[in-house]
């Protein structure tokens, strides 16, 4: 089916591709969002006091892309991976090894090889985690993630804990041209190549999201939904459960791989285990999916940008404790996560879209501003009740039920 206009129930819809039809308003919002992303490098350049920086936002975009992959497993197959950094890091390290040791600088080749490497990694890890579900799946993926982390740490040729950089070691190459390149453009961290890489990444992300959209609406996606709800039932329906879960795991790993390769092209001078393979990176990817809203398609990606901006701001916060001044970035991100888990379990996008908590609250507020009073009373009562419950719990705990 070709792109075009159609009318459904008197509502004008614009068809982008097969299965994807948007109302004009949503299309405008979407285009505005993408346009805003394209303008971000310029905004970051021209504003000093806003928390908009190209580096964290880029990191957020690629981690968000990895989170989109993780979300594919989480949302449809009901599997929580806690080891997605393995694919992210495999791709990043592949880029570094290809540039540094094999002197390949073409970004297209690098991307392709890195994604293949990540796919193989995902196939391998997926094979081992296949029999497991629920928490055990999370545990096993985490352990595999840590295995992937311990390999470069242990092998001194891969730089140990210092990691590698993606600069070619070939002789006779000027310093500015040692970086990965796209055509004649070297990604050497200067403003122009940085901005172009940023834009290329946006395009790749949009394509990846469209592919994911099609995938979710394909028979394969529906089959995964069935598997996620009840594996036994899905098997009785004749679905090849293991093969489908494995395929979903690999697809999810490919997204991690694309993200990792893009990360390595941008941060080519510092590809270290701590920022690409560590368990905290896996945790961040899961965090991002939850923050953005794991019941939505675009949520994880948006969550990535919000998360990195938040951690960038939070890492500047210093509290003076008994041991002197300490940065408390993790404390703040952890506290935000608590708020998300208890207050907004459907995440940012999930809360903002129609039917979401914030959206509905906003609509009620516009229709009848006087609800603020009952709301604040309700909130106060909620806090008091929670306190009472806590006291009661502790009392029962100590004295028993009397």
């Amino acid at each position: 089916m070709t792109p075009g206009l159609s009318r459904e129930d008197g509502q004008l819809k614009i068809r982008i591709m097969k299965g994807l039809e948007l109302t004009p308003l949503r299309l405008v919002l979407l285009l505005a969002g993408i346009g805003f992303l394209f303008l971000l490098p310029a905004i970051a350049r021209n504003t000093g006091n806003l928390p908009i920086r190209v580096r964290p936002i880029y990191r957020g975009m690629v981690l968000g892309l990895a989170a989109v992959g993780l979300n594919f497993l989480l949302r449809h197959a009901d599997l929580t991976s806690f080891g997605h950094a393995a694919f992210f890091g495999t791709a990043a390290y592949t880029v570094a090894i290809m540039v540094q040791i094999f002197d390949i600088q073409s970004a297209v080749v690098l991307m392709a090889v890195a994604v293949v490497a990540a796919t193989l990694m995902a196939a391998l890890v997926g094979y081992f985690t296949l029999p497991h579900e629920g928490l055990y799946f999370a545990l096993v993926t985490l352990a595999f993630g840590q295995l992937a982390f311990s390999i470069p740490v242990g092998i001194s040729e891969l730089g140990g804990t210092d990691g590698l950089n993606a600069l070619t070691g070939a002789s006779g190459v000027p310093i500015g041209e040692q970086y990965p390149r796209l055509g004649g453009l070297f990604f050497n961290g200067q403003e122009v190549p940085n901005t172009i890489l940023f834009w290329v990444t946006i395009v790749i992300v949009v394509i990846s999201l469209l592919v994911m959209y099609r995938l979710i609406r394909s028979p394969f996606g529906s089959a995964l939904d069935a598997i996620g709800q009840q594996r036994t039932r899905a098997r009785f329906l004749g679905l090849p459960v293991k093969r489908y879960v494995w395929a979903a795991f690999i697809i999810s790993g490919i997204y991690g791989g694309i993200a990792g390769a893009l990360y390595a092209l941008f941060f080519s001078t510092s590809i270290d285990p701590g920022s690409t393979l560590q368990v905290f990176v896996s945790g961040d990817i899961l965090y991002i999916a939850i923050l953005g809203g794991f019941k939505t398609l675009t949520g994880p990606f948006i969550g990535g940008i919000v998360f990195e901006t938040l951690s960038n701001v939070a890492s500047d916060v210093v509290i003076t404790g008994p041991a002197g001044e300490t940065e408390v970035g993790r404390l703040i991100t952890g506290a935000v996560l608590l708020v998300i888990v208890f207050g907004f379990p459907s995440g940012i996008v999930g809360s903002l879209k129609p039917g979401g908590r914030v959206y509905e609250a906003g609509r009620t507020l516009i229709r009848n501003p006087s609800v603020v009073g009952p709301w604040s009373r309700q909130a106060g009562r909620g806090v008091v009740d929670a306190g009472r419950r806590a006291v009661k719990n502790v009392r029962i705990l100590i004295m028993g039920v009397k």
Partner: protein
């Protein structure tokens, strides 16, 4: 391109070296058992994969550094100076003091664990498991920063003179293994004692049986009048107790430092996979295997020291995906 340094298995086969590494491995394994047993029991009963467990262990180590610092001093600043050389009375008194430090630390961890369970984890039992993971991850982040906020990022050590006093007790020297400190023996024996107590608790006491019954069938236990809420809090507090005790042991033998929790957490996962979900016996075997293997690897090839436990895990997953000892509950 040759990856890493070559394997030198021959070095490990020298008898003295082999025994030394194995004993060091046992010590590491027993401490790991204390951590992993708490994690595995929490997982088996509460059905919560507590990602913050490693940070509870690290928190225990730092609390022990404060408790120990208060009682005997830290690093080169000893408060109590033992006489130099082996003096039976003072040396054994210091052993008692170290055990006391560990016990106080573990007891401090009990209310911390109980509060974390009742206030944060309890509200989400009914919800999707992904929220548990994310919630415990949030607790991990928060505890990690609280630790650096309170104790800073420098490693903390127990007073050297206290360690020396314990090491002056002749132990391994008597059998010709002079390079193993007596502290190692002390940690092995104390952890072993606690491990035995744990098996006794779950196997012989009424509370332990109630906990196991809850693990086997939560609804049935409730129907028989067991308060699952209380059991859950108790189990979480017990896990915190064990993590705190393990942290104190680790602090006594080496130091308390940032980042120790993360490593312990991941190794505990390996232990659970190797031993089997929720199995205490499995935790013993898994922890000893991981500890000993890592210490053998120091001699064979230090590059593979971190990767070796995961190789074992992959092997177990291939051969026996449910772990060496199946699910816990029916047996300890």
């Amino acid at each position: 391109m040759v990856l890493g340094t070559p394997l030198t298995i021959g070095d490990l086969l020298q008898p003295e070296r082999f025994i030394t590494q194995t004993i060091n491995g046992l010590q590491a394994g027993f401490v790991l058992f204390l951590i992993a047993s708490g994690l595995t029991v929490i997982l088996g009963i509460l059905d919560v994969l507590n990602l913050a467990h490693g940070e509870l262990y690290a928190l225990g180590a730092f609390i022990a550094s404060s408790v120990g610092g208060y009682i005997v001093g830290t690093g080169a600043n000893a408060i109590v100076s033992p006489p130099s050389g082996f003096d039976p009375v003072s040396s054994f008194a210091f052993v008692g003091v170290l055990i006391l430090i560990a016990l106080i630390t573990a007891l401090i961890m009990v209310p911390i664990g109980a509060i974390v369970e009742t206030t944060l984890i309890r509200p989400i039992y009914e919800r999707s498991q992904v929220y548990q993971l994310v919630l415990t991850f949030a607790i991990l982040l928060i505890i990690a920063d609280i630790v650096t906020l309170v104790w800073g990022s420098d490693p903390q050590q127990l007073a050297f003179s206290t360690k020396q006093a314990v090491n002056d007790i002749p132990s391994f020297e008597l059998v010709g293994l002079g390079n193993i400190p007596t502290l190692v023996l002390m940690v092995i024996l104390v952890s072993l004692g606690l491990g035995v107590a744990l098996f006794w608790f779950f196997g012989r006491t009424k509370t332990g049986r109630i906990i196991r019954a809850t693990a086997i069938d939560r609804e049935m236990a409730t129907a028989l009048g067991v308060s699952t809420d209380r059991t859950f809090t108790l189990v979480f507090a017990l896990g915190s107790f064990l993590a705190g005790f393990a942290g104190a042991m680790q602090f006594v033998i080496t130091r308390a430092q940032t980042g120790m929790g993360e490593q312990a957490l991941v190794l505990s996962f390996v232990v659970i996979v190797v031993g089997g979900l929720g199995s205490l016996r499995g935790a013993v075997v898994g922890a000893v295997v991981v500890g000993v293997l890592q210490n053998w690897m120091i001699v064979i090839n230090p590059d593979f020291q971190t990767a070796a436990p995961f190789a074992v895990m992959v092997l177990i997953l291939l051969v026996k995906p449910e772990g060496l000892f199946g699910t816990w509950g029916e047996r300890t």
